[in-house]
Amino acid sequence: MKLKDKYAIVGIGYTPQGRVPGRTMLSFHVEAAANAIADAGLTKKDIDGLICYRHFPAASGEPDVTSYLVAQHLGISPTYLSQEANCARSQLFHAISALELGSCNYVVISYGHNALSSDSMTKMLLQRGIEEMVFGHFGASADYALAAQRAMHMFRTGSETWKHIAVGHRKWANLNPRAMFYDQTMTFEDYFNSGWVVEPFRLLDNCLVTDGGRACVITTVERACDLRHRPVRIMGIGQHHPSDYVQRATHLTGPTGARKAGEKALHMAGITLGDVDACEVYDCFTYTVEITLQDLGFFDPGEGEEWLAGGRIEPGGAMPVNTSGGLLSEAYHMGLTQITEAAMQLMGRCGKRQLGPATHTKEPEIILCSDNGGTLQTHACYILGRL
């Protein structure tokens, strides 16, 4: 039997987010998971699968947040338990695989991090790239900036392109009361006035650091139809992991993993890019959005600025992108920011930012999600649709 349209997202879990001091990483995982279970109209006794998103270094004084610890605190005894280390980005695949194997019936995927208020991110930064640290090279921002600088050498891109991405995301965040930047607007001038962090990235090219959690529940479409919300069917999935070491990589300026992952997901869904109504793409940096949309085939290298100009990805635009505000302006929950927002949009639960008449955009039937990790080293693409 075909996997297309066989599985669905049925519940979403939120937590307080932003700067939320006095909370452990584990507390965000369990709160998000519990909320997702309740949102689906399920109880904990229904949950027999658990997948936890990236395993960040434990903050000082906190336990290592393994998935069995999350299960323990949720009071569940799953028959499928998985925890992806680092940036594999294949959580939805694992959920579908476990369901297809009959290992379980209802899978929770959860993420939680006290990234803003604890020392976990600093620990991660100092564990990463030990050979590069001697030269003062730290973390993701600088690696992506290396990719972006080379891209600026290879084709027309840079701040004039990225300003449309930063401002466009902020306009969506201004419609989302949950967004960390709900109350703060951004103009092109604000973008250019934000200081350099690691040049060519300004502060506003960088995503947020967030305390909070996010979760969702996956089950079969058959079971989904008995639950509370309109199910969100998983139409297509694809992965590609170029993996190569940043210093050696040739994929930094494209094609990234988005190319092959996108082709695979669209093929499985039996659609073309023209059938996609909106995108929720991983936006750790503005450049990531550009290169992902470019590799998916929305425009040719160097044509991003022209394609983005005039508000194409903004409220009222022809191709809305990151309608929650994304990682740049809503909150950072890794790929779950995108997946959960796509599901909420397709369920029709997004209030002021709802795609359709509320935002003068097309009623969403199909949304493309992307998830990217490492430095463009791992990539997954998901096509989600209304049932």
Binding site: L125, I130, E131, E132, M133, V134, F135, G136, H137, F138, G139, A142, A145, L146, A147, Q149, R150, H153, G195, W196, V197, V198, E199, P200, Y245, V246, Q247, R248, L252
Partner: protein, 135 residues
Amino acid sequence: MDYTKPLPSVNADNEHFWKGCSRHELRFQKCRQCGFVRWPASFICPECHSTDAKLITASGKGKIYSFVVYHVAYHPGFKDDLPYVVALVELDEGPRFLSNIVGCDSNAVACDIPVEIAWDDIADEWSLPKFRTLA
């Protein structure tokens, strides 16, 4: 004088590299089977999976593949260096090596310009391979 920046982390895979640096030799593994010069140091050739390699000493000449300018110090040891340049140097022998471009203003750095090695002797047993631009 106390050196306040991180020191190299030496392990069984990269020991030859850092030992070479202390003698101002930029040493990389070259696969005896397919000729691929690899970096990062590795037990196995990522091209052909042979474990048979010899060490070559690179000329220290290359060109800038990409670069960034740090305006924020993520580690206190680099605070006085701001703004400083981190670059991917494509060496003539093939590998791309992440390092610093020193001795020039960050505005003078650009992709594809030629560079040569500029050893930085940071402590008795440690020398870091950094690079400077060639006119």
